[in-house]
Symmetry: C2
Subunit: 125 residues, 2 copies
DNA sequence: AGTTCATTTCCATATTCTTGGAAATATGAA
DNA sequence: TTCATATTTCCAAGAATATGGAAATGAACT
């Protein structure tokens, strides 16, 4: 079965697996709505009505997959989506799963969907 | 946990789950390379070096997710990717996971990636 | 009828994922 | 230091997935 350990495919499988779960997909979508400043786990538990342990588990999964970034700010941790990474995933799917090898299918097929967050803020202690 | 059983999200989760597996992703990519005529399970077992039972299991999963279509032709069954469905998945991700709600992020964000196999190809600029 | 090939289902096993309470850790404030 | 809040890790039980041999099904041909 294991024949071509393609690194890009491996990354895609991990990212797809991270999104292939109802709670995590909802969580990621929520984060996308707050892509600029991010959200704290506390805010997410309120929004999604999840036990803290469950939320933390899924959040960690998204981070492990490289789809979510975190930054500590005092007592809080802000999580935000890594849109560049998400974009890369969509690009991979478009490239490898949307068209036959070597073929182009029009202007809409460009892999670049949207770019990383425009501006960043930092405020560490 | 289960709070908003969004049908579109549900479909996306199933499709993502179908692709979030090394063997199945390789399988789907193989099918995309033969999107026009399709492939028989026999040909796939040879290409991917999988036991028939294992291949059948994964194939069924892809069909269940709506990503693969089959047609019987005499003694053979030909499987081919449902590119429209794949396109819808990419569209969903682009719409819901690539940008903040209501925001546009440039010309590249158009949800339509590629449509079912084109008869004519365009020259990329 | 019976034979052969293509493909799937049956089944048991092994592995991985999901859940969430309880305990632990980290940070800031009094 | 002590307290309170934010967040994570620990753990264990249940649920879902993955694997593949062996048996069953389907479809053509003799």
């Amino acid at each position: 079965m294991t024949q071509a350990p393609d690194a890009a495919a491996l990354r895609a499988v991990v990212a797809l697996g991270a999104l292939a779960q109802e709670t995590r997909l909802a969580l990621f979508r929520l984060l996308v709505e707050h892509a600029v400043d991010g959200l704290t786990p506390g805010a997410m538990t309120l929004k999604l009505k999840l036990p803290a342990a469950t939320l933390s588990f899924h959040l960690k999964e998204l981070v492990r997959a490289g789809l979510v970034l975190d930054r500590r700010e005092g007592r809080f941790i802000y999580y935000r989506p890594d849109l560049a990474s998400m974009n890369a995933l969509v690009g991979y799917l478009t490239e490898n799963c949307c068209r036959a090898s070597g073929e182009s299918c029009g202007t809409g097929c460009a892999p670049s969907a949207c770019l990383p967050v425009p501006s960043r803020r930092k405020r560490p202690s």
